[in-house]
């Protein structure tokens, strides 16, 4: 590594005027490709990480309890759409929350992206889009697994567009909630905050029960109505188990759009606050 031989190439092309305005679209695609590339290499660990919990939930509550006679076969119909909704929603939420806390507070790996030639808010949008992709993969994997665990899959081809649309909407809401959390939590509080937020989200999302049947437990019904996951679960239940009481699709869509606007705004504000001093 002598200096003499190093001289010509080190600055080859450097210092030249930029030939054209920066290509924002290319930068965005390159950021997304980096994330997909890294996930693709670790696909199996990723899938284990995101589907193990829902699979056990489904197995114990939808299969074991039914076999033992503590739950009816109809309960697995209630549970399945909820578990798929949960998988997408929480995968998206965790994928923006944890990595952002670590990136902004410890590794600073995000700095190279923040110095890429694209507006800061697009770096945040890329994270949301990537979380959406991961969430959709995780949800998609749940379908064959559910069929394997429960022995049946009550999904018609005609249901898929609506199911897909609500999984997209639900994952987006999960991703922007995760980003809001990830950019507002102090790093030394991360463990506490995630325990305090994740567990209630898991159990108030109408995943394990139809929301309308909570009439007799009014206060809990109100709490569940505040959890965006409820509307994903209910919408999927409406498609996959229409005979179970469920909220109308338009109401679920309206609620999720509202949550998306609110948390979309807070996530972008939070991201900008962490990205720029």
């Amino acid at each position: 590594m002598s200096t003499d031989t190093a001289a010509p190439a080190l600055t080859a092309g450097a210092g030249a005027p930029a030939p054209r305005p920066p290509a924002v679209g290319r930068a965005f695609r390159a950021l997304l490709w980096r994330d997909v590339f890294v996930t693709g290499r670790e696909l199996v660990p990723f899938l284990l990480q995101v589907v193990l919990q829902p699979v056990f939930l489904l197995f114990v509550f939808g299969k074991v309890l039914v076999e033992l006679g503590f739950a009816t076969a109809q309960y697995s119909l209630v549970l399945l759409p909820g578990v798929i909704a949960l998988t997408a929603f929480l995968t998206a939420l965790q994928n923006t929350a944890f990595p952002l806390v670590i990136d902004f507070s410890f590794t600073k790996e995000i700095e190279d992206r923040l110095l890429a030639p694209l507006p800061t808010w697009l770096v945040a949008v890329e994270k949301v889009v990537f979380s959406l992709l991961r969430a959709l993969v995780a949800a998609a994997v749940m379908f064959p697994i559910s069929w394997w665990v429960l022995g049946a899959l009550p999904v018609q081809r005609a249901d898929l567009p609506v199911i897909g649309a609500f999984l997209v909407l639900g994952s987006l809401v999960g991703a922007v909630m995760g980003m809001t959390l990830g950019t507002s939590v102090r790093p030394n509080r991360i463990n506490v905050v995630f325990a305090v937020v994740l567990t209630p989200l898991l159990f108030t999302g109408s995943t394990q029960f139809p929301w309308q049947s909570l009439d007799s437990l009014r206060w809990f019904q109100v709490v569940c109505a505040l959890n965006p996951l409820t509307y994903v679960s209910e919408a999927l239940r409406g498609q996959m188990a229409p005979e179970v009481p469920h909220l109308p699709l338009w109401l679920c869509a309206l609620a999720l759009t509202g949550f998306l606007l609110v948390f979309g705004t807070t996530s972008l504000v939070g991201f900008r606050r962490r990205a720029l001093d």
Binding site: A9, A18, R34, T107, L115, A116, D277
Partner: protein
């Protein structure tokens, strides 16, 4: 005090005017109205104690900190008005490694170039060339976690050059490096300059500032206290250059008379008592070497002989301490 130095032959690579940065809830401005110009192809050092505002200034220049007031242009682009274009023309070598640990060393370079829109063939070519130039060929496939501090620093420099920036910012480039790695980094900085790239670095290392920089700005408490070449800064420091002389005086003359004859030439003359013969130290401002002739003449007039000369130049450290004081912070 604002120090303005506009123009220059190569034009301005960085122009800072009346830059102020105040963080919300803080009593004082982190950067308090500084102005300076960095010429194209220059190595510019921002020197200052911890908390002087160097890193904040660098943050504004690299679009990561929003200025409270004032304007900053880098490579002709206003960083606050058009940060996206500015980012395509500058690059940053951070103080602490922020390499992508999910990627190999080479992938770190290639993806960085991809973010900046460099085509596939070109980014692969540049990655291989830069890995070789920075002594990392053969280690491109390693995870960056396996890299030592010095190797990580070299990879950070390679990454910064992947998109052919016009201005490279280095934040404390040799902090925590061993002497070999430090010299290696210094050589690369000189190469960049030779290649026409403008380099702005922050440091609190006097040696680094004095050896590497064409010009040095000394910052403290958010203000720019002085700005000039290292040589001019040290020359301007009053009474800190010294000229030690050994004299063989004529028979019948006295030490006191010789010293008295030399007194008009310097700001102060002292006899150095531990020497066997007559040894005197002359304190002066400006160039000590230029005084050798007049001293020799003055001694010749008294039929004394100059037998030894030693020049003591003030260092940048003397300048720094005289401007920023000695108290700990």
């Amino acid at each position: 005090m604002a120090v303005v130095d506009a123009g220059g032959e190569g034009g301005a690579a960085v122009e800072v005017s009346d830059l102020v940065k105040r963080y919300p809830g803080r009593p004082a401005n982190a950067v308090d109205g500084i102005s300076f110009t960095v010429h194209r192809g220059e190595v510019f050092g921002l020197l200052g104690p911890n908390g002087a505002g160097k890193t904040t200034t660098l943050g504004v220049l690299t679009t990561r900190v929003l200025p409270t007031s004032g304007t900053v242009t880098v490579a002709g682009v206003d960083v606050a008005a058009d940060p996206v274009t500015a980012r395509s023309r500058l690059s940053v070598v951070p103080q602490r490694s922020n390499l992508d640990r999910a990627l190999t060393a080479r992938q770190n370079l290639v993806f960085h170039a991809a973010y900046h829109g460099v085509g596939r063939a070109e980014r692969n070519r540049r990655a291989d060339a830069l890995l070789e130039q920075l002594g990392l060929s053969g280690r491109g496939g390693d995870k960056v976690d396996d890299y030592s501090g010095g190797m990580a620093q070299r990879l950070l420099i390679a990454r910064a050059l992947m998109h052919a920036p016009q201005v490279v910012f280095l934040d404390e480039p040799s902090t925590g490096l061993d002497p070999q790695a430090r010299l290696f980094v210094w050589d690369r900085v000189r190469e960049l300059r030779a290649g026409g790239v403008t380099v702005v670095l922050t440091t609190h290392d006097m040696d680094e500032a004095a050896t590497l920089s064409d010009r040095v700005g000394i910052m403290d408490s958010g203000r720019l206290l002085a700005l000039d070449t290292p040589a001019a800064l040290t020359r301007a420091l009053p009474g800190s250059a010294t000229l030690d002389i050994d004299v063989e005086r004529a028979d019948g003359d006295t030490d006191e008379a010789v010293l008295a004859a030399l007194a008009p030439l310097a700001e102060r003359v002292e006899q150095v008592t531990d020497a066997a013969g007559l040894r005197a130290r002359l304190y002066l401002s400006g160039d000590a070497a230029a005084l050798v002739g007049p001293v020799s003449e003055a001694l010749g007039a008294r039929r004394a002989r100059l037998t030894g000369v030693r020049i003591g130049e003030p260092s940048l450290e003397d300048v720094f301490l005289s401007l920023t004081g000695r108290e700990l912070r």
